[in-house]
């Protein structure tokens, strides 16, 4: 049968269509047609155009090459010119492709149309979005003053908008969970002891040349930064002995020569006892300590009485093992890598002192500025660029969040917890607007319930985001940021053992209506009326930065996008000097004493679990960067959900089996999403463990939603670090809920009398 037309339209339909006068607006003609060259195309990424850039799947910033075919990113590899990672990238690095092409991406500016937190949005234009943000910033500043504006930030994407907040004069122009929920206490301890940020974004610890590597809950191998892991593996290959202190038998512990399964919260007791033993047995580097350190007597005094026997009892460890650790370190000094650690905001009160103890231990063993020990950065020269913003420092208010609560907070900005508190209470002054960039604060700052309540009290909240995270859902305006694969950032220099200079540059144009952070900040500044950003685009200031290194972007790209420099990590003893006031390593810190804080480490017991509960501890999955990658399809396929590690003896006592699904209830009655059990002897019976980042609560994250449980939603209480106001993550306790039954967990390793027990004051039925 042959029919000329299947579509029979009525006269009225034809008339309706004719009345519209529609023309195609979808296409423009090209000069000539091209046929598909697919048959001639090389398979996979072969023959692809290669563009050097820098990864941002985590903060480590490995140099990469984006492979482009047919206008599409088909593969990411390490930049072979990089001495740090070479052609290698980790699982996350590979999966940047999936971030770029994630259908859940925020594609256009969005505006909230329902209740705040309800997540009802409508797409709006960039003009409308930016006008709305600018209007609200000006309104809040005028009504409540400059400090009513607060900015939560993280990473390269947040840097330009930070300039705006700084120029607006608020003291809260930066409040980074990267410090207050991660490396802040560690960074402070090392800055004050050694005069430089030995651990911040990076850790200057020469594991590749070490004879002993000492890790206090550093989960290298689960915490993957390619060059760092390579150095660690190099050290082990060379025969370095590995000592691991951790309540859990981590990947690192599995490689250890000596594993110390410590009672959570007692690390400083162990370190003090080790110091005491090393000092009293003359195992320390006397020459280094006498000539290049100050405060030895105070440290000696502080450690006195902290015997191995005492520590063994407090820490629930074998005294022999502690001694063994001391001897291993002392016999191999100074070539010992005492890792400074990161993500170390665990117990609040003692966190800075614990890291100070690690720094002191390095110094006692002379392991500073030597192969195998802590080393010094090699600065790589580049041009200095300013954006013409905030020419003078802003005045802080009479009662300052940065200055008046934690004496060393201002080194890092405004403590996140204090911003949340001030927003909730209006004290010391009201905070009425939050800008958020590069960080999912609801899954990062402890007590998300408090954070969400605070958000309800804001006049306005906006974020720049790539994915529809929990934080985006609470925002009034969402600005779609370009991924790292679609933008330029500043020139990056790597000042570790293999120094280099490189630049992040787009491998593809921004998709949809995503815009680069520089563009967004520049346009927003214009609308607020700030004279900011005296460059028209990123390339202009990058050229300026490169000029300072005798380069241009074209020249750099001709050289594979990366140039290397000679390292200067070690120091001869005769030239040894550090950047502290005295020029010496400060074993005791007067600045701390001046603020009535401990100038030398002191063991402050953190309360033990209440009866029926165990401590909740957390860590990382090697294929994820916390919540940021949970929606990434490839990584999700590798590790779709976390599991709850529970001690096998404990599990047996209460009839729990491996693989069973349970819910956790914390001391305040908050419950987790369901999580499967991993029953194992590889964790102490007084703690349970899960990897952080799972259990997304935003339904718009279609891959990560409700996959596993979020430790964050069980952290409803935290202790402040008294030095900078960082908040603790290991001070919450849980028990198990199986079906409808709440299971109290028996105590198999009771704490000694020296450790107080946490008292539950509020029991709730919150969920």
């Amino acid at each position: 049968m042959k029919r000329r037309s299947f579509l029979k339209l009525s006269a009225s339909a034809c008339a309706a269509l004719a009345a519209l006068e529609l023309n195609s607006k979808g296409f423009i003609p090209k000069a000539s047609a091209t046929t598909s060259s697919k048959s001639k195309e090389l398979p996979g990424s072969l023959g692809a155009k290669e563009i050097p850039s820098v990864c941002e799947m985590c903060f480590w910033r490995c140099p990469i090459v984006g492979k482009i075919k047919n206008g599409k990113l088909v593969k990411i590899e390490g930049n072979p010119k990089s001495p740090a990672n070479g052609p290698r990238v980790c699982a996350r690095g590979n999966s940047g492709v999936q971030l770029l092409y994630d259908p859940d991406r925020i594609k256009y500016p969005l505006k909230r149309v329902g209740e705040r937190g309800e997540g009802k949005w409508t797409r709006i234009s960039w003009d409308e979005a930016l006008d709305e943000v600018a209007y609200n910033i000006k309104k809040v500043k005028q009504k409540y003053g400059k400090d009513a504006l607060a900015y939560f930030d993280h990473g390269a994407s947040a840097e330009f908008m930070r300039e705006i907040f700084k120029t607006l004069g608020t003291e809260n122009y930066t409040s980074e969970p990267a410090f207050y929920q991660c490396v802040g206490p560690a960074a402070l301890a090392y800055i004050k002891t050694l005069g430089y940020v030995t651990t911040g974004t990076r850790q200057y610890v020469d594991m590749g040349n070490a004879k002993v590597i000492f890790l206090v809950a550093s989960h290298i191998g689960e915490n993957v930064h390619v060059s760092h892991v390579r150095e660690y593996i190099q050290g082990l290959q060379n025969g370095a002995k590995l000592i691991v202190v951790d309540p859990r038998f981590s990947v690192a512990a599995a490689k250890a020569d000596l594993y110390l399964p410590i009672r959570p919260g007692t690390d400083t007791a162990l370190l003090l006892a080790m110091m005491n033993y090393i000092i009293s047995n003359n195992l320390y580097d006397k020459e280094f300590v006498d000539n290049y350190c100050t405060g030895f007597d105070k440290v000696k005094k502080a450690a006195e009485g902290c015997t191995i026997k005492w520590a063994a009892k407090i820490c629930d460890l074998s005294a022999d093992d502690i001694k063994k650790a001391c001897h291993l370190l002392a016999e191999n000094r100074p070539h010992v890598s005492i890792h400074p650690g990161r993500h170390s905001t665990w117990y609040g009160k003692g966190d800075t002192n614990r890291h100070q103890a690690l720094a002191i231990l390095s110094a006692l063993l002379g392991a500073v500025g030597v192969p195998g020990g802590l080393y010094f950065p090699t600065p790589v020269k580049k041009g200095h660029v300013t954006f013409g913003c905030h020419e003078k420092e802003a005045e802080h208010p009479d009662v300052s969040i940065q200055d008046d609560f934690y004496p060393f907070a201002s080194i890092f900005g405004s403590p996140t917890g204090k911003i949340v508190e001030a927003t909730s209470t209006g004290k010391p002054y009201p905070i009425k607007l939050w800008g958020i960039n590069g960080v999912n604060i609801i899954q990062t700052i402890p007590n998300p319930y408090q954070t969400m309540e605070a958000i309800k009290k804001l006049d306005f909240i906006f974020c720049e985001e790539i994915l529809p995270t929990e934080t985006a859902i609470w925002s009034d305006i969402i600005l779609p940021g370009a991924t790292y694969l679609e933008r330029y950032d500043s020139v990056y220099t790597y000042d570790l053992l293999t120094p280099y200079l490189t630049v992040r540059q787009p491998v593809v144009e921004p998709m949809f209506e995503a815009r680069t952070p520089f563009w967004i900040a520049r346009e927003l500044a214009k609308r607020i009326g700030l004279e900011c950003f005296n460059y028209n685009n990123e390339k202009e200031f990058i050229e300026e930065e490169l000029k300072g290194a005798g380069l241009t972007l074209a020249k750099l790209n001709e050289q594979g996008g990366l140039v290397t420099f000679k390292a200067n990590p070690y120091r001869d003893r005769k030239d040894f000097k550090v950047n502290t006031e005295s020029g010496k390593v400060q074993l005791s810190i007067e600045d701390f004493e001046d603020e009535d804080l401990n100038g030398v480490p002191k063991f402050i017991p953190t309360p033990a679990p209440p009866v029926g509960y165990v401590r909740l501890i957390y860590g990382r999955s090697p294929v994820h960067t916390f919540t940021r990658t949970m929606n990434n399809k490839w990584l999700h396929n590798e590790c779709p959900e976390n599991r709850l590690w529970i001690n096998d003896t404990l599990a047996k006592k209460v009839g729990l089996k491996d693989g069973e699904e349970v819910v956790l209830e914390n001391q305040d009655g908050y419950r987790s999403l369901p999580i499967k059990l991993k029953v194992t002897p590889g964790i102490r019976p007084d703690a349970v463990y899960m990897a952080h980042g799972f259990g997304a609560r935003s339904k718009a994250l279609t891959k990560g939603y409700k996959k596993g449980a979020s430790d964050q939603f069980l952290i409803s209480r935290y202790e402040d670090d008294p030095f900078i106001g960082a908040s603790s993550h290991r001070t919450n306790f849980v028990r198990i809920v199986k079906g409808q039954k709440v299971i109290d967990l028996p105590e198999l390793s009771p704490p000694p009398a020296e450790i107080p027990r946490f008292e539950i004051r509020r029991k709730g039925g919150k969920s």
């Binding site: 042959k2 029919r3 000329r4 037309s5 299947f6 579509l7 029979k8 339209l9 009525s10 009225s12 339909a13 309706a16 269509l17 009345a19 519209l20 529609l22 023309n23 195609s24 607006k25 979808g26 296409f27 423009i28 003609p29 090209k30 000069a31 000539s32 047609a33 091209t34 046929t35 598909s36 697919k38 047919n70 599409k72 999936q98 770029l100 092409y101 994630d102 259908p103 859940d104 925020i106 594609k107 256009y108 969005l110 149309v113 309800e118 997540g119 009802k120 949005w121 409508t122 797409r123 529809p468 144009e509 921004p510 998709m511 949809f512 399809k633 935003s698 339904k699 718009a700 279609t702």
Partner: protein
């Protein structure tokens, strides 16, 4: 093949674009309803608030905080991992190149539904039956999945009906050009 398809596909393409004054006029809704009536579908109430429609469009096709969306990209439905910029996008791009046409939605992947519908209008206008058959084969390969997903999201009646009539019209045109070739 008649010029009416050219008008219809321009209309459908426009209807799947974000709501604006252009695609939410009374005349526009009336034309969609007229098509629905002729094809035997229910009609929708033509008094639709543009702002409300924007909210629905965002919820259904862009980002939905309550559940999944029905993305307007062929790759999402034809790749096993539901990703963007996969084989279907390359296919669409190759079609446009063969027709010496370049999409105007340069920030959208080439397999964006409105782009594909506009392309059909272009092919109809040019009378390029060979390419049209191939392209219809491409779009009919994924559109039903899109429609099914959309209908599972409690769509606004306007988008529900729009998807239904689009599929019928695609199939009609496909049958028609196949028969014309035969």
């Amino acid at each position: 093949m008649t010029g009416i398809y050219c008008v219809i596909f321009n209309l459908l393409a426009n209807a799947f674009c974000y709501p604006s004054n252009e695609n939410t006029s009374d005349k526009f809704f009336y034309a969609i309803n007229a098509l629905a009536r002729d094809l035997g579908f229910d009609t929708f109430d033509e008094k639709i608030d543009q702002e409300l429609l924007k909210e629905h469009y965002t919820r259904l096709f862009i980002n939905n905080p309550f559940c999944e969306t029905a993305p307007l990209y062929a790759s999402f439905y034809s790749s096993k991992d539901n990703l963007l910029m996969q084989g279907a996008r390359d296919e669409a791009k190759a079609f446009y190149q063969r027709a010496a046409l370049e999409p105007r939605f340069e920030k959208e992947p080439e397999d964006f539904l409105p782009t594909e519908l506009y392309f059909i209008a272009e092919l109809v206008k040019k009378g390029d039956v060979k390419l049209l058959v191939e392209f219809l084969h491409h779009i009919i390969g994924w559109f039903p999945e899109f429609k099914k997903r959309l209908q599972g999201l409690n769509p606004h009646p306007y988008y529900s009906i729009l998807a239904e009539i689009t599929l019928v019209i695609l199939n009609n045109l496909y049958q028609e050009v196949i028969n014309e070739k035969a």
